[in-house]
């Protein structure tokens, strides 16, 4: 229990630190949302001053930060100038879409990547291993950006899958089953790109972890006892290799979110990514900070889950 508490405190400290850092950077940033208004001759300078006062931008940094923290506890995460709404509800719906996309892709990547890695670890040095090395190296070298563009091209050319957005026009009047089908068909392309992007890392890690375990004495002992190879692999060896794979869950969240941002922006999936890009171009800084905090929260949550799982599984960590 103490372990969990410590990890949780550490996480809170991290998010707090990131928010302070964002505000410091924001202070250093030249230019703000109202610069465009200042250039507009139809808006009087007094209006801009009044607006800045209304949003509290004329206050010193510390005051703004405290106000922002207050708004976080009210569940608002600051105020978006461009949307003229609190940031949190904007981000919430987008975060749900990002989660849907990334979780689907991750689920399939793990379901396929782990058995694949185990399989080629067993056949080390044979043709499946060599073939997989080629596939993995190839996939690692193709940037997600390009993968997304090619997927877009294929989808447009063949017309098999809809591209852009998350739902079809007029889907709000359809029945629930039809709606799910609609979202799933929109989900396919972006999820496929993310899946292909994260697959090689999982295969490689699964292979390395399995190779380490297959070397150990207990596997050979089990073999000598005549335990069937499938049972040996998936009941004895794989759990022993789970440690590094679980840490991989934590590590890969960051890469996954970054890839997701790219894919979302290119394929028009309404996740956090496109919102962040819009916010940057509009200098809507509270929205930027909000998106950054949300992504941090995702990442540290992933790490937290991975750590908790490791703690459950690996007695060596509990001993420390």
């Amino acid at each position: 229990m103490r372990y969990y508490t410590r990890r949780l405190l550490h996480t809170i400290f991290l998010i707090f630190g990131v928010s302070v850092l964002s505000f410091l950077f924001m202070e250093l940033a030249p230019g703000e949302f109202f610069d465009e208004m200042r250039l507009n001759p139809q808006i009087s300078p007094e209006t801009v001053v009044a607006l800045r006062h209304q949003y509290g931008l004329d206050k010193p940094l510390a005051v703004r930060y405290v106000r922002w923290v207050q708004s976080v506890f009210k569940g608002e995460f600051g105020f978006s100038f461009a949307y003229n709404r609190p940031v949190a509800p904007l981000l919430m719906s987008r975060a749900r879409n990002t989660l849907l996309l990334t979780l689907t892709a991750t689920l399939f990547a793990w379901l396929i990547g782990i058995p694949w890695g185990v399989w080629i670890a067993v056949r080390k040095g044979k043709w499946p291993d060599h073939f997989s090395t080629v596939v993995v190296t190839g996939l690692v070298s193709v940037p997600d950006l390009l993968l997304a563009l090619v997927a877009l091209l294929v989808a447009m050319r063949t017309g098999w899958f809809p591209v852009g957005g998350m739902v079809s026009l007029g889907s709000s009047e359809w029945g629930p089953a039809h709606k799910v089908e609609d979202v799933a068909s929109h989900l396919f392309c972006p999820a496929l790109v993310l899946f292909l992007g994260s697959l090689p890392t999982i295969i490689r890690h699964a292979r390395t972890a399995m190779l380490g375990v297959l070397d150990s004495g207990f596997v050979r002992a089990a073999q000598a006892h005549g335990i069937s190879s499938r049972r040996l692999l998936f009941r004895h060896a794989l759990p022993a290799a789970a440690g590094p794979l679980i840490s991989l869950v934590g590590i890969s969240v960051g890469t996954l979110l970054s890839a997701s941002l790219l894919v979302e922006a290119i394929m028009g999936w309404p996740g956090i990514g496109p919102l962040l890009l819009e916010a940057i171009l509009a200098r809507d800084l509270y929205l930027v900070v909000g998106a950054v905090i949300f992504s941090t929260a995702f990442l540290v949550a992933g790490n937290l889950v991975a750590d908790a799982l490791l703690y459950r599984i690996d007695p060596r960590i509990r001993g420390e």
Partner: protein
């Protein structure tokens, strides 16, 4: 089922390898292992050097300037090389025809077969500057005006895609490389200090690095970019991109270097040197930093392609290097338009180049890891 035996014997073979290191005075290659692999490193280094010199002397290899437009030829497909002219005569030197846009049908191009334009080697063309010092007009290849040769087609403004690919590679490749050097240097210095001095400095630096690692890299990159001015000149944008990408990534190399330094600091020869009254500076320079050499080198090779990609991503979203200066990122932006993506395959060329460069760096990293016996990072 001999799976365990197979891998076990492989493991033993690798254990028998002597500890290799790049500096020859540290170890004399014995037996089979590293001495043979030493040659393999060139497999990655030579093509990489070739690609980098290709883009460094882009002016010479590119037939045109990156900003030279021909508004009569937007999105023209790659020029066709011919050997046989309309009279059935065979030419040893391949030639091209002049491309004329038919007035009525935009986007469609015809060859004017009345005159052949053989490809010349070392021809005179638009002037360019070499290394920023002297000006030259010689290009590796080209054809006589009014014909033009464009082996990779032309973009929407009628600019030669091959020339832009080369000039854009200069921006993207060197941005990635410089950013990698910057981030590895910063990381190594901070990591070495943290590991060597320990105490509160170590604690503070490591906590600080956790903040950077807690953010997904693209979000971090975009966030830092968000707080900087949006409209900047291309050269400033390049500097900005290199600095952001380089500084944002300092945390990982710093933590790795710190680990190596921590273990090096406790070695008996370091303690002995300290006992003889060696200064901190001497210890770090002479005993500790050389230990980190392998990690630093591998990290640089690992980070360079990632940073190239980071610059490409920034420029792709219009937050990095902007028009008219090409970067592989902003060249790919036009693919977001349906017509370009579906009809003009040659516009994908920066992406293909990116794959090639990533592969080479990937090869380099794994060869370095093998050579220096560092586990996967």
């Amino acid at each position: 089922m001999a799976l365990a035996d197979k891998s076990a014997s492989a493991r033993h073979a690798s254990d028998a390898r002597p500890v290799p290191f790049l500096t020859p005075k540290r170890q004399a290659p014995t037996g089979t292992g590293p001495a043979q692999r030493a040659g393999k490193l060139w497999l990655a280094l030579i093509p990489l050097a070739a690609v980098h010199s290709l883009v460094m002397f882009a002016g010479f290899f590119a037939p045109e300037d990156y900003a030279e437009q021909d508004r009569t030829l937007p999105l023209a497909p790659p020029s066709r090389l011919h050997f046989v002219d309309p009279h059935g005569r065979f030419h040893v030197v391949p030639f091209v025809y002049r491309i004329v846009p038919p007035p009525a049908r935009p986007g469609d191009y015809l060859e004017d077969q009345s005159r052949v334009f053989p490809i010349g080697i070392l021809v005179r063309g638009t002037p360019y500057r070499v290394a920023g010092i002297f000006t030259s007009r010689r290009h590796l290849f080209g054809v006589e005006a009014p014909a033009k040769i464009f082996l990779l087609g032309r973009d929407e403004y009628g600019r030669d895609q091959l020339s832009r690919l080369l000039y854009g590679g200069r921006v993207s490749l060197f941005a990635g490389l410089l950013a990698a050097v910057l981030s590895v240097t910063t990381g190594a210095l901070l990591g070495a200090c943290a590991g060597f001095y320990g105490g509160w400095l170590d604690g503070a630096l490591m906590r600080f690095s956790e903040l950077f690692l807690a953010l997904p890299w693209l979000y971090l990159l975009l966030a830092v970019r968000a707080f900087l001015p949006l409209r900047v000149s291309p050269s400033e944008a390049l500097l900005l991109a290199i600095t952001i990408v380089g500084l944002v990534g300092w945390a990982r190399p710093a933590r790795l270097v710190r680990g190596v330094v921590l273990s090096a600091r406790g070695r008996s020869y370091v303690l002995a040197a300290r006992g003889f009254g060696a200064s901190d500076f001497y210890l770090i320079r002479r005993h500790v930093l050389p230990e980190t050499f392998g990690v630093v080198l591998t990290q640089a090779a690992l980070l360079a392609p990632q940073y190239i990609l980071a610059e490409v991503t920034l420029s792709f979203f219009g937050l990095g290097v902007g028009e008219p200066v090409p970067s592989w990122g902003n060249m790919l932006t036009s693919l977001l338009r349906y017509y370009v993506l579906s009809q003009c395959w040659w516009m994908l060329s920066p992406g293909l180049a990116l794959i090639g460069v990533s592969l080479l760096y990937y090869l380099l990293t794994s060869l370095l890891q093998e050579r220096l016996r560092i586990g996967q990072l």
